[in-house]
Amino acid sequence: MSQPFDTLALYDSLTPDEREELDRAMEANPALAEAFARWTSLRAAVRRELAADLPDRTLLVLYALADENVLDADERARLDAARDDLGVAMDRHPGLVDVVRRIRADREAFEHAWAAHTQMNGQVEGEAKTSSADRPPLRLVRPQRPARWVWRIAALVAIVLGGTLLVQIAMRDAGFETIRASELMAVDLPDGSSVELAEGAVLMIPEEGRPVRQARLMGGRALFDIRRDEASPFTVETPNATIVVLGTTFGVAVTEIETEVVLASGIVELASHADREAAVRLEPGERSRVLSLDLPTEPTPADVNAELSWTGDLFIRAESMARVADRLSQAFDTPVEVDAALAGEIVSGTRFEREAGLEAALQELAMSLGAQVVPLEGGGFRIAP
């Protein structure tokens, strides 16, 4: 009996012969027919909900293409008018988010078909711009950040991005260079800011000579460390959100349909593309996210170190020297002691680059406290006045 029940669940993908066989089985077995009726009722209910929440499927196509500068004014107006309802529908039906992803893959397939055709016929591709990703980046791109570590008392903001990438979108944006991280790498920006990219991240930065304080993170995870300029706030655009940097340093994270921000320190504002005016402001140690076209969630406490563990670094936010020493001790599996006179000193807004090693971190800590690092017999260190 289990075999017909198993097959019933997939009735809609059976061959006509298989269906006929099942129909006969249902005629002979009321329990089987009962189960099938319930199942089809459930499926019908899902379908009705989808139809009620999304009466016009073309909106999904417009939404999927919204960030690619291919919509005309009427289409954009249609999409804008439907954004609220569309956001509700996508929240209620996770499958719609997958459909959007599928449509974006369809678009990429169309691009490939178009490019193959035009290249085969020796034509210049219609509206495609020269892929900036194929040219060497104009900025200094370090394959790995240097082994030296840097104390950064300045505020740190981190936004963690995960998921698949919108590479094709990035490649077609004029005025921006596209950088794809094949490994953990750092990118230096002209104003002294820098971005650390996790493997797989795709970042767009302004082409050389464009005085634009903006970057676009199309996918993956990145940690931004931005030089403070109150007269010219830095913005990070993601496929569905905008992050405005109000402090000095920040990091960003996004998937193709979700942007999550985890702030180590400093201040940022996060807004959905659906309503750029309705931004939330994050304080250090908080997180917020924008799912599809929703407004940003209210900031909630975040485990900054867990969120940014991919960097390999330690982030310290307003913690006692005793606690910092304890964390460093655990991170490096080495005893670290702190003199009682220093144990209560507060360390804040700090990032330890793990590659630099424990002793270097302790030396820097000691320097900031006017203390010294003393090696312990048997291994380990002590920070003493």
């Binding site: 669940a9 249902m26 196509v61 397939a109």
Partner: protein, 184 residues
């Protein structure tokens, strides 16, 4: 092969029927390659190409920027593809319409046990719900698997499990009804 350049679009928009024909002929292989890559089934691809070309033909005058033909054709193709999944091609569509059960061989519809749909929906895990929603949006299991970056077998297994959970919930409901309804 005819060029898909903006001048050709302008001439077609201005009433040059020969130019319009060449333009559509030039689009045909692009669309065919696209739909073949996404759908693969030749009869469906034929229909999709033809209907997309009709969309382009009918909408060409409304294309305000002749240099945006690619975007215009792409949107037409994507709209058409959604229509395909929605079931507009039902003559060829093998998907079963769950709104119309093929039969009620045991007469269960009159058995008096009505499905508590809300309760039933709760038995779906978020993952199973995604799969069923995609299925109800018209996507074949193979494409659902591709979208979710898993295998078709894994997708079907999720559906079977959801079905099994639904059966278990229903069994519990029936027992509860029997226990509280002495007349049954």
């Amino acid at each position: 092969m005819h060029s898909l350049d903006p001048q050709a679009v302008v001439r077609a928009q201005q009433g040059d029927e020969a130019e319009r024909g060449r333009l559509l002929a030039a689009l045909e292989p692009v669309l065919r390659a696209f739909f073949k890559a996404r759908i693969g089934r030749v009869p469906d691809v034929d229909d999709l190409v033809q209907n997309t070309l009709i969309r382009v033909h009918r909408g060409l005058e409304a294309l305000q920027k002749p240099n945006r033909l690619k975007a215009f054709a792409m949107k037409a193709a994507l709209f058409e593809l959604q229509d395909f999944y929605r079931g507009r091609y039902s003559a060829r569509e093998s998907l079963y319409d769950p709104d119309i059960p093929p039969s009620d061989p045991a007469g269960v519809g009159s058995a008096g046990l009505r499905l508590d749909l809300e309760r039933a929906m709760e038995v779906l895990t978020p993952h199973a719900r995604r799969i069923i929603e995609l299925r109800e949006m018209g996507y074949p299991y193979a494409e659902i698997a591709e979208t979710l970056e898993t295998t078709e077998a894994a997708v079907k297994m999720q559906v079977k499990r959801a079905f099994e959970r639904l059966r278990n919930v229903l069994s519990a409901l029936v027992l509860a009804i029997l226990a509280t309804s002495p007349s049954l």
